[in-house]
Amino acid sequence: MASLNIEHLKYKYPGTDRLALNDISLSIETGEFIGIIGRNESGKSSLCQAIAGLIPNFYKGAYGGKVLIDDIEVKKVPVDELCETVGTVFQNPFNQVTGAKATVYEEIAFGLENMGVPKEEMIRRIDRAMELLDISKYRDRYPFDLSGGQMQRMAIAGVIAMHPQVIILDEPTSQLDPQGREEVFQAVQKLCGQGITIILVEHNMEKIAQYSNRVALLDAGTLIDFDTPQKIFSRVDLEQYGVEAPVYTQIGKRLNLTIEDTGCYPVTLEEAKTVLLRKGGNDPVWL
């Protein structure tokens, strides 16, 4: 598995004056779950595309700095080779269906066929990916007949079957209904602890707080902060960056309930419960 280092990354889209990514440096350890947050146009997707090598290999423009996965410099590797190291899941599940395959099973095999994976190995990987994403029952279904959530899980299965070391999920639930969203988050939860580095861009802060080891807060292409969810969501200036803290953090802020060790506000239900129990003992008023 790979560690990811970004060093002074700068990028400007062709025909624009503003830097979409402005001197971003951060380091991610193998197997970490990283959340990326920020308002629209803050550079979240651009950062993901730079990690996946789509910037500057697919999107041209002014590029500076380095993205390193272990000792591989992303810029120097063609996307079709890098996809074995970095997998990407995009927002719109419909647009990730290749349109060239008749069943879900064949659709998941698409990337493996392109990479020249032998048939037996291909079958093994597809079966595992389908099992992990709980889509084995859709095996023979026509990909376009799936619901948004099922389609997105199929896309994730297609990516993880390629055995990448890093998976980027760029707002994977933004176009889904609540049920589809829940299906995808359950799939994401299963990916945690698999030893894969996961980078998730998401507007649902509760989910970011629930899964992330660390969170990167971006604004106008600049990395404002990169720290634990507790520290990020406890920032007093968070709203200034167009981000609303998870509801548990908001309650914590209102009631001035902080986690004893860190002095931060709780970000998940579990943390909120712990803080409340500490504060009120077993007093039912607090519970």
């Binding site: 995009f90 064949e106 392109n114």
Partner: protein
Amino acid sequence: MKTISLYVDKGTMLNKIAPESKIWYVIAAITIPALMGTRWAGIVLIAVSAALLLYGKVLKRTLPLLAVSGFVLLTVLIIQGMFWWGNETPLFALGPAVFYREGVNYALGILINIINILMSFCVLILTTKPSDMMENFVRRGFSPRFGYVFISVFQIIPQMTETMSTITDAQRSRGMETEGSLAVRIKAFIPLIAPVIMSSLINTKERALALEVRGFNSRKKKTFLNDEVKTAGDRYIQIALPVLIIAAAVWRVTQWLA
């Protein structure tokens, strides 16, 4: 399943035969009557195609396709029957319209050729899964990109049509009239086409990205999940049909020399 493919899997031997064999059949069905220059060759091949379609359990599905071309065939019959340059002998009259033997005879020749071509293509397209055909071609060194374009059209066009109808509904719900006189329809066309083109461009770009990150442009040698579609008889079919074409050509030359 929303697809514009006409393929139906009836589980017959025709579904299992290699697409290349069926392509050879189409070539043979078109070239043999042309080389022999006799009408009966076309009739025989129509009968063979009909028998194959019947065996493949898709003969019924051929009828709507023939009906679609029926209008063109009827037009050919009327125009040639009435106005062919060599018309001399009246055959029958419908009111003031007189049909001539020579013209009708000439039109029948055209009709046989068209029906023969249509039915032989039906053998190919109604019994061959497009993805199998392309996969077989890619195995033979055909460009996967071209193969992808060919295959994806079958699935993506129906999806685009669906997007168009969603946009039409959205515009209609905002009070835009989309039905009525030609002027109303033309007026409705512009606000419809702009979002359709824009969404198509965005979708195409996103799909291109999704393909890219799944190694579509990889220079590695591709492997295949599915086994190649072929039967033991394919080798013989792919030898016999070219031989028949050559035999037809030889026969024609000998006729010409005699």
